[in-house]
């Protein structure tokens, strides 16, 4: 079981991701904006963070950069969620320190595999 932080302003995606990962036995904390995500990442220990790139206020990219900049969260695995029309942001995402990305629309099964792969890579 892993502790996963999800940040997405879209309640449909947030709930879907939370549901699928809970089904897989993970412990989920879901927030709806970047500031809340950063606060949660600093206050609680997580094994993985899933961030939507476009969020009001603080974007997923900004959160990713801040996570990487702080020594206590610098090694936290980050997966970005992006829309197909924003695939150009992926390059910026990797530059910000993200480890992987998922493009919307995605299948819950694919999400589950990506998360599992990332967690097993970290364990190794």
């Amino acid at each position: 079981m892993a502790r996963v932080l999800i940040a997405d302003d879209d309640p449909d995606i947030r709930d879907l991701v939370a549901f699928k990962l809970t089904q897989n036995g993970h412990q989920i904390t879901a927030v709806e904006d970047g500031m809340a995500a950063l606060r949660a990442a600093r206050e609680q220990p997580f094994d993985l963070v899933l961030l939507d790139i476009r969020m009001p206020g603080m974007s997923g990219l900004d959160v990713c950069r801040s996570v990487r900049a702080a020594p206590e969260t610098a090694s936290l695995p980050v997966i970005l969620i992006t829309a197909r029309s924003q695939e150009g942001d992926v390059e910026l995402g990797f530059a910000a320190g993200a480890d992987d990305y998922i493009v919307k629309p995605f299948s819950p099964r694919e999400l589950s595999s990506r998360v599992a792969a990332m967690l097993s890579r970290v364990e190794r």
Partner: protein, 365 residues
């Protein structure tokens, strides 16, 4: 002279009007919040099953569909916006499950019937649902909607046809570019592009259309979809086309297609005397083409009087690799043409900080 009584009445009336308006706004917001809350409460139990359906393995989906599909009208009305939104957010088995849910509710047939509704909002909503469902049998009805009296409905129909992906829609989409009730070229281009390679023969038929806008859009779509077999037609459009807009699109398409046949017409498009926009686009396209043979002509226009042409040529040279870079270095230290030297230095500086990846090759006109 203004009567004093009138002024007094007006002064009394204005705060009253303000109060009434404030009450109306607050009341509307309260009603909306209440309705949203009621819908959320109504949908909540079924929404949980919906999430379960989206995440379920194939053999469990049927049972979950049996639980959601019979929902009463009020509950479905509350849930449907989530189902419709989810259609655009999930793929694979989850998406198939949503389409099955709509089919069990009889929604596609209802939506096709609603395309004839008197209300534009209903027609538009129906077109949107059919597009999201990629309901191919609705293609013909949606094509008819491209001539709808409401502009938003026409736009939604065009987008829906793009989602559905039936090439039968191509001539109708091209036709919607002109006439009394039109669809904007950007929307038609996006719809035609999403139809993919199957639509190429029908799109290419648009190259013979008498309307320049239709030819321009057809060329753009062929370029974006990588229809390399149509390169000779596009070359002809650049050489022979009398309309600048068509020639510009042809130049851009040739750059995208990247075929060697594009070199000569693009070099001709770059020459002085041609329209500035065409020269700029041709310079950018030569960069995309990556032909080293373009190094000399691009270097020649570095000192062009038009900064768009010169700047785009400098960036294009960077894309040609070592030969282009060497040409820029030579121009940067040259004393005979200060304008060319400045453009070359600017492009080399951009490359040094790695910003060329962010800046489009064509200088914005």
């Amino acid at each position: 002279m203004i009567h004093l009584g009138f002024v007094t009445q007006a002064l009394l009336f204005l705060p009253g009007l303000g109060l009434v308006l404030s009450l109306l706004i607050t009341g509307t917001r309260l009603v909306r919040t209440y309705r949203q809350g009621r819908r959320r409460r109504l949908a909540a139990p079924v929404r949980a099953v919906l999430l379960e359906l989206l995440c379920a393995p194939e053999d469990e989906q049927s049972e979950l569909l049996d639980r959601i599909a019979p929902a009463d009208k009020r509950t479905w009305k509350a849930l449907e916006p989530t189902v419709a939104a989810m259609l655009g957010k999930v793929s694979g088995r989850a998406r198939t499950a949503l389409v099955l849910l709509y089919e069990r509710r009889g929604s596609p047939a209802d939506a096709v019937a609603r395309l004839r509704s008197r209300s534009a909002a209903r027609r538009g909503r129906a077109a949107q649902v059919l597009g999201r469902l990629r309901h191919r049998p609705a293609t013909e009805s949606l094509c008819r909607l491209l001539d709808d009296r409401d502009r938003e409905v026409r736009l939604t129909a065009a987008r829906a046809l793009g989602h559905i992906g039936d090439p039968v829609a191509v001539p109708h989409l091209l036709e919607s570019l002109h006439g009394k009730r039109t669809v904007p070229p950007a929307v038609v281009t996006a719809a035609l592009t999403s139809l993919g390679p199957d639509a190429v023969p029908r799109v290419a038929a648009g190259l013979g259309d008498p309307a320049p806008l239709v030819r321009a859009v057809a060329i753009e779509v062929l370029g974006v979809t990588g229809a390399i077999t149509r390169t000779p037609d596009i070359v002809r459009a650049l050489w022979e086309g009398p309309e600048t807009e068509v020639r510009i699109r042809a130049a851009r398409a040739l750059g995208r297609l990247g075929m060697p046949d594009g070199l000569e017409p693009l070099l001709a498009g770059l020459r002085p005397g041609q329209p500035v926009t065409l020269r700029t686009v041709a310079a950018g396209a030569l960069g995309n083409l990556g032909a080293v043979a373009a190094t000399g002509p691009l270097k020649e226009v570095l000192g062009d009087a038009d900064p768009h042409v010169a700047g785009t040529a400098a960036r294009a040279l960077l894309r040609l690799g070592p030969a282009g870079e060497a040409a820029l270095r030579e121009a940067a230290v040259g004393r005979s043409d200060p304008r060319a030297a400045a453009q070359a230095r600017a492009a080399l500086a951009e490359a040094a900080v790695g910003s060329t990846r962010r800046v489009p090759v064509e200088v914005v006109l």
